[in-house]
């Protein structure tokens, strides 16, 4: 029985790894804090769930969740192109509130607060994933491939350009590089992977509602990225495991019912604040969040 619980935790870790690594792509490599990342996650989750429930084959629903999230990412970049620093961060936060509101109010499409229940695990190429073990294999493979792709991007010349843009955008412009295209590409990729991790999440949890994708979630993902270290793919992987596991261990403590839930959030927020104060490079980061 404990084995099943471990499998459950591993699946969650895999999803968060992909979320964190994709956020790190924009955060660490373009230096802009996208607080709307979880909204993209939510868009992916809803896209995949709605399409699949309406009979669209999983592979298409899955890819659609990535592309739709990617498109939303483009819209976000386009809208916020003139903003910098904390104004940019706040605009992305505003974006996530708008997405939340849309999910909540466009009830004819999203079913609003009723949420979408009974999202089935996928059936691919004639092979139905029926239990958590096979789901773990499935999500691990997807995440592994995705992380590998992102890692290759980051190590490529494109990735070096992104890093340069983070460090000094003006200099890069002077050198004649098209920073606008860079931002769009980086966000598009980041959002795509946020979207497909949303799909992985929806099909595992089987029930999503707008309340799943809130400000607390972005704090969680941000904590993972900062703990792992900005611009460190490896760091995000390790940190995801640590940050997801710790509160799950809390389940085994005899805490009164009302405390267990908030305890997780308290832990995350304390870790985040302490880290920003004393160890802003996190575990493996080579630079600080600037």
């Amino acid at each position: 029985m404990i084995l099943l619980f471990v499998v459950h935790v591993l699946i969650l870790i895999s999803i968060y790894i992909l979320l964190a690594v994709s956020l790190n792509l924009v955060l660490g490599y373009t230096g802009r804090v996208n607080l709307g990342h979880v909204a993209l996650f939510g868009i992916g989750a809803y896209t995949s769930a709605l399409l699949y429930i309406n009979g669209i084959p999983f592979v298409i629903a899955f890819l659609a969740s990535g592309f739709f999230a990617g498109f939303s990412g483009f819209v976000l970049i386009f809208a916020t192109k003139r903003l910098k620093g904390d104004y940019y961060a706040l605009a992305t936060l505003g974006f996530s509130f708008i997405v939340y509101s849309l999910l909540l109010n466009l009830t004819s499409i999203t079913r609003g607060p009723l949420g979408i229940a009974g999202i089935k695990k996928p059936e691919l190429f004639g092979f139905a994933i029926t239990n958590n073990f096979s789901y773990l294999t499935f999500s691990s493979i997807i995440v592994l491939i995705s992380v590998f792709i992102i890692w290759r991007i980051v190590s490529s010349p494109f990735g070096i350009l992104l890093g340069a843009m983070r460090d000094d955008e003006t200099a890069l412009k002077v050198l004649g590089k098209d920073t606008k295209m860079l931002k769009y590409k980086a966000m598009g990729i980041s959002a795509f992977f946020a979207g497909i991790s949303g799909s992985l999440f929806a099909h595992y949890i089987s029930f999503i509602d707008p309340g799943t994708f809130t400000i607390s979630e972005i704090i969680l993902v941000l904590t993972i990225v900062i703990v792992g270290g900005i611009a460190s793919t490896k760091g995000s992987i390790v940190a995801s495991a640590i940050i997801v596991v710790i509160p799950e261990l809390l389940r085994f403590l005899p805490l009164p019912g009302g405390i267990a839930g908030p305890m997780r959030q308290i832990l995350y927020s304390i870790i985040l604040i302490v880290l920003l104060l004393y160890k802003p490079r996190g575990l493996f980061g080579r630079i600080e969040l600037e």
């Binding site: 620093g85 706040l90 305890m263």
Partner: protein, 292 residues
């Protein structure tokens, strides 16, 4: 006709509440030049302190007010001392300060939930009575007090920022920090002072909000979003501007709801926030981050 009057009154009530939050936030912003997003939780902490003193410990209401205000100011100041000040000495960027601020907000939101539970709490000071009728619309006494107090705040801050020495020094720092240091203004001291004063006003906001609405731990997030939006609309570097913006927001929300399903009320403010951040981040009164 009475429908429009009621919407207007609802808008004024909402605007007043947002103004209570926005004024403290904007004061802190204007002298520190970063977003103290956790201001929302200062308000909620104040409400819960009042609840603890009045509803739990049964201390008479008027005796509970001062400790509440004092403790709120202290709370804000401690957040400054323990979180922002160390970060600022390491030259942390505004983004880092913002993230830390959101972290503080989430932290205390959950601490309150762990201590008090997620249930809604009520401060039962006043009886529920039919409100006063104005042109067919209803407004209760408490709501009128809140509206008048917020309007008073507007006048007060106008006076304070323009005529008092402290206010002028704050505006000097908001305008040009380096220059103000050169002329001998102790900006560190004033920055800290603005946290104390701003959080004091958060305390006042918390008392009014606690009485008028019910208490629940997550209301801090809602309040700061609305307060912040109002501040952005009016001009986040100016306290009177923030108050005006808050009223505009309150009225926009409530008039907008006449045409849209009620669920879209929050969406109106999110969209307004987004639009203003994108197209007019200096707000309607055009007060930018670095002064006028």
């Amino acid at each position: 006709m009475s429908f429009v009057v009621q919407l207007t009154i609802n808008g004024l009530i909402a605007g007043s509440v947002y103004a209570l939050v926005a004024s403290g936030f904007s004061l802190i912003y204007s002298t520190n030049r970063f977003m103290h997003f956790a201001h929302g939780i200062s308000v909620v902490v104040a409400s819960y302190i009042l609840y603890t003193l009045f509803s739990i410990a049964q201390i008479p209401f008027f005796l509970s007010i001062l400790p509440t205000l004092f403790l709120s100011a202290l709370f804000g100041f401690f957040v400054y001392l323990l979180v922002y000040s160390p970060l600022q000495s390491r030259n942390a960027s505004n983004v880092v300060l913002l993230i830390a601020s959101i972290g503080v907000l989430i932290l205390f939101q959950n601490v309150l939930q762990a201590v008090y539970g997620a249930n809604v709490k009520t401060i039962n000071l006043l009886e529920t009575n039919k409100g006063i009728e104005i042109f067919g619309a209803s407004v209760t006494h408490l709501q009128l007090v809140i509206i008048f107090f917020s309007l008073f705040l507007f006048i007060f801050f106008n006076f304070f920022m323009r005529k008092t020495r402290l206010g002028k020094e704050m505006r000097a720092i908001a305008d040009n920090k380096e220059l103000s240091r050169i002329v001998g203004i102790n900006d560190r001291l004033i920055a800290g002072a603005s946290f104390v004063i701003g959080s004091f006003f958060a305390g006042i906001a918390g008392i009014f909000i606690g009485l008028e609405y019910n208490l629940f731990p997550t209301m801090g997030t809602d309040l700061i979003i609305k307060g912040f939006t109002g501040a952005v609309i009016g001009g986040v570097g100016s306290v009177p501007g923030a108050i005006i913006g808050a009223y505009i927001l309150g009225l926009a929300e409530n008039y907008g709801i006449a045409f849209l399903p009620s669920g879209f009320k929050d969406a109106i403010s999110f969209v307004l926030l987004f639009i203003f951040l994108l197209f007019k981040p200096s707000g309607l009164l055009g007060i930018r981050r670095n002064g006028e």
